[in-house]
Structure formats: structure tokens, C-alpha cells
């Protein structure tokens, strides 16, 4: 045991001896209670006779197949927008090395741009149409308008107006969030409607200067 130093106020010898006794008692090791040995309540005897299981095996999901497709709280399901497919492999057909591949968070597969009519492209300006062709963008791909403090003096007021607009369905295919740390508002919409949304934002929120449109991986591609 380490040395223990007791500081006390000088007084009677009796008081000192009491203090020493008390200290000694406190330094005594605590009584240890051995934990009870763990024992299963229902040990396996002829347990296999009483065990049942589903005949059907659970689905096998390859590491590349992790994409949610069902509507659940907290998940966005835009199957018509996002060309994603769940990759299911029948049990027993998966290759043995599948799990050696590092797990990826999501896997997007290429799909044809069949969901949007050609006429829809006509609603885009020639400049944006050129950019869409140049970058090979899908018209249902999500794009993001970024509103900064340079566009409006009061970001919270702009956010309130924007929320009203979204509620009134004035902004097609839009969802938005406010990034308070960055002092920015992000408005997401389909590329197809981005010009219409951008014009609406500028008018409705009375934005000053230019707002920029960004798409994933490419960054800013357009401004108005």
C-alpha cells in the first residue's frame, strides 16, 4: 500500500488516536463478493428436438447491393429520380470472395434516360441544355441552388419565405435545408426544373446578385 499522510489539527491525544482508528478502518480493503457463476436457464439437453426455424433462408445481399428502396421514415425514396436498384443474389449463387471486397455505402448502376420525355428538354434554356449535354446530366438528377448571405441580408427571413413557398407547392420537386454554420440555404430540385426554381427563388425571396447551381461531383455549373 502507498504511504498515507494524515493532516490533522493539533489537539488532544484522544482525538488523534480516534482519527488514526478511523483512518485505519477506511483503509481496510472492501469485502469482495464473488459474482455468481453464469448458468443458462434452459441448458441444451435434447434441445435440437425442440428447435424450429424458418425453412426459407434470409436474403443474401452482396456488398454492392446496399441501397434502400422502400419508403421509410428518414429515407428518401426517389426511385424515378435515382437510377438505383437493389442487387439481390439468390442464396448459394454469391461468389465466395464477396465479403473480401470492402463494404461500400451505396452502389449506383447506370440506367437509361427513359423517364423523361424529349419535349421536357425544350423547357430548358439553350445554355442550360448545352450544359446538360456537355456534362451528360440526367434531367431527373438532383441539383442544388445555393443561397448565401450575399444574396439576401437576412437568411432567416429568406428561409421562412422559402418554407412558405415549398408548402404552397410553388417549387416543383424541391426540398431545402438551411446550413446555419455556413450561412447558406440549399435548395434541391431536379435539373429539369432548376431554371424555373431559380427564377422563382430570385423573385419570391427577392435575392440580390447571382445564385449558383451545383450538381454532385461537378460543383457549380450554372448561375443566374
Amino acid at each position: 500500500m502507498d504511504r498515507v499522510v494524515l493532516h490533522y489539527r493539533p489537539g488532544s491525544a484522544l482525538r488523534l488516536s480516534t482519527l488514526l482508528q478511523q483512518t485505519q478502518r477506511l483503509l481496510e480493503p472492501l469485502a469482495l463478493r464473488p459474482p455468481p457463476a453464469f448458468r443458462p436457464w434452459f441448458p441444451c439437453g435434447a434441445a435440437h428436438c425442440r428447435a424450429i426455424r424458418p425453412a426459407k433462408p434470409p436474403p443474401h445481399i452482396s456488398p454492392a447491393g446496399g441501397v434502400p428502396t422502400e419508403n421509410q421514415p428518414g429515407t428518401t425514396d426517389r426511385t424515378q429520380d435515382a437510377p438505383c436498384r437493389v442487387q439481390l443474389v439468390a442464396p448459394g449463387t454469391g461468389s465466395g470472395t464477396e465479403r473480401e471486397v470492402p463494404a461500400v455505402r451505396r452502389s449506383w448502376s447506370v440506367s437509361r434516360q427513359s423517364g423523361v420525355q424529349l419535349q421536357s428538354r425544350m423547357s430548358l434554356s439553350s445554355r442550360l441544355r448545352r450544359l446538360v449535354s456537355l456534362h451528360r446530366l440526367h434531367l431527373r438528377q438532383r441539383a442544388k441552388w445555393v443561397i448565401t448571405q450575399q444574396n439576401c441580408s437576412n437568411l432567416d427571413e429568406a428561409w421562412r419565405r422559402l418554407s412558405r413557398s415549398v408548402r404552397r407547392a410553388g417549387l416543383p420537386t424541391c426540398n431545402a435545408n438551411i446550413q446555419r454554420e455556413r450561412a447558406e440555404i440549399w435548395v434541391f430540385c431536379d435539373v429539369l426544373h432548376c431554371e424555373q426554381v431559380g427564377r422563382h427563388l430570385k423573385d419570391e425571396l427577392r435575392l440580390a446578385g447571382r445564385i449558383h447551381l451545383a450538381v454532385h461531383r461537378l460543383g457549380n455549373i450554372f448561375s443566374m
Binding site: W41, A47, C49, I52, R53, P54, A55, G65, T75, E98
Partner: protein
């Protein structure tokens, strides 16, 4: 405080509802923690006021729901002794078994407080233990799958009819190799005692996993 028998208020159903809801959360979490499925199919959710991981894969979710839907009548009638989540290697030999032992008292002393807050707190502790159990378990070999076993109090064949509640989801008697593990390491995780149910969770881990 009121004393009720199992027949009152269809109490078995209440217990089965609580336990099946808990088992659903627990199975999702075990599959995530033990990396049976890619982490990409899981999303963070909140249950019992703690973060949990839940699969977003519709087929897997349906499978777990169907399984528990069939297990529920057994728990309701107090016929289920153990619900075991078995993690198996490529050769279908168990490497880990998460054993939920369930015991229901014949007499119930309940109050609304007991049901709502105390049981939830106890179940939360199970979830927290599962979420950190990888610290005491060895890594599983690649390519693992899982199954859910239900150990019944009577012979399995007598309970077959009770579990066949979904037409396209048949149940069979488990093979001996799925149930037994050679000299497993026993890791107790959590036990609880409440007025409505007693439950204990431990893991049987195969000594040599690879």
C-alpha cells in the same frame, strides 16, 4: 398495484408485442454489429431512446418481420423458451449464437409505470449491450449468414401449427448442427427481471471460427 393472471387483459399478447418489437430491434442490431450484412444497408434510428442500426433492405426487413410474426403466437402462449439468432459460416456451421432466454411468470403484478418505463429501461440496457458486444467477441469469418431458431417448451412438432401463420413462410425442425456448437465460449451479456417477463441474453461463441 393489481395482481393479474395471464388470462386477464390478454396479457400474453401484450408481452408478445413488447418482446417481438424488442427482438426485431435486437436482430437488426446483431446483424449490423456482427457484420453479417454490408453496413451500407443499415441506417441509424432511435429506439428506447438510444441509437440503433436498422436495415433498410426491404427483403431482409420482410424476412425478419415474417419470422417474428410467426414467433409471436409462441411467446403469447408462453411456449417459447429461447429465441436464438444463429450466425453461421459458409459451411452453415454456427459460429455465434445470440441466445435470448425468456421466462414469463404465471402471476403478474403490474402497474402502468411498470409497463411503460421500467421495462423500456431494461430493454434499452440489452440494446446497449448488443451494440458493444463486438468488443468481447472475435471477428467472424467472411461470408456468414444467419437464421433464427425458436426453442419451444414442448416437442417442436407440436408447435409447428402455431408458427405456420404465414402461408409462404414455412417452418421446419432445425438440424442438430445448427443447434449444437462444440465447446462454445459462453459470454453472458444481460439479464432482466420485470413483473411481466424475465429475460437473459448470452452469446455462445465457437472457439475456432476460421
Amino acid at each position: 398495484m393489481t395482481t393479474l393472471t395471464r388470462q386477464d387483459l390478454n396479457f400474453g399478447q401484450v408481452v408478445a408485442d413488447i418482446l417481438c418489437e424488442f427482438l426485431e430491434v435486437a436482430i437488426h442490431l446483431i446483424l449490423y454489429v456482427r457484420e453479417v450484412y454490408p453496413s451500407g444497408i443499415f441506417q441509424k434510428r432511435k429506439k428506447y431512446n438510444v441509437p440503433v442500426q436498422m436495415s433498410c433492405h426491404p427483403e431482409l426487413n420482410q424476412y425478419i418481420q415474417d419470422t417474428l410474426h410467426c414467433v409471436k403466437p409462441l411467446i403469447e402462449k408462453n411456449d417459447a423458451e429461447k429465441v436464438v439468432v444463429v450466425i453461421m459460416d459458409k459451411e452453415h456451421h454456427p459460429v455465434e449464437r445470440f441466445v435470448f432466454e425468456i421466462s414469463q411468470p404465471p402471476l403478474l403484478s403490474i402497474s402502468s409505470d411498470t409497463l411503460l418505463s421500467h421495462v423500456e429501461q431494461l430493454l434499452r440496457a440489452f440494446i446497449l449491450k448488443i451494440s458493444v458486444c463486438d468488443a468481447v467477441l472475435n471477428n467472424n469469418p467472411p461470408g456468414c449468414s444467419f437464421t433464427v431458431l425458436v426453442h419451444t417448451r414442448d416437442a417442436a412438432t407440436r408447435n409447428m401449427e402455431k408458427v405456420q401463420v404465414i402461408k409462404d413462410f414455412p417452418w421446419i425442425v432445425a438440424d442438430e448442427q445448427e443447434v449444437h456448437m462444440k465447446e462454445p465460449r459462453l459470454i453472458p451479456l444481460k439479464s432482466m427481471t420485470s413483473d411481466i417477463v424475465k429475460m437473459q441474453l448470452y452469446v455462445e461463441e465457437r472457439a475456432q471460427k476460421t
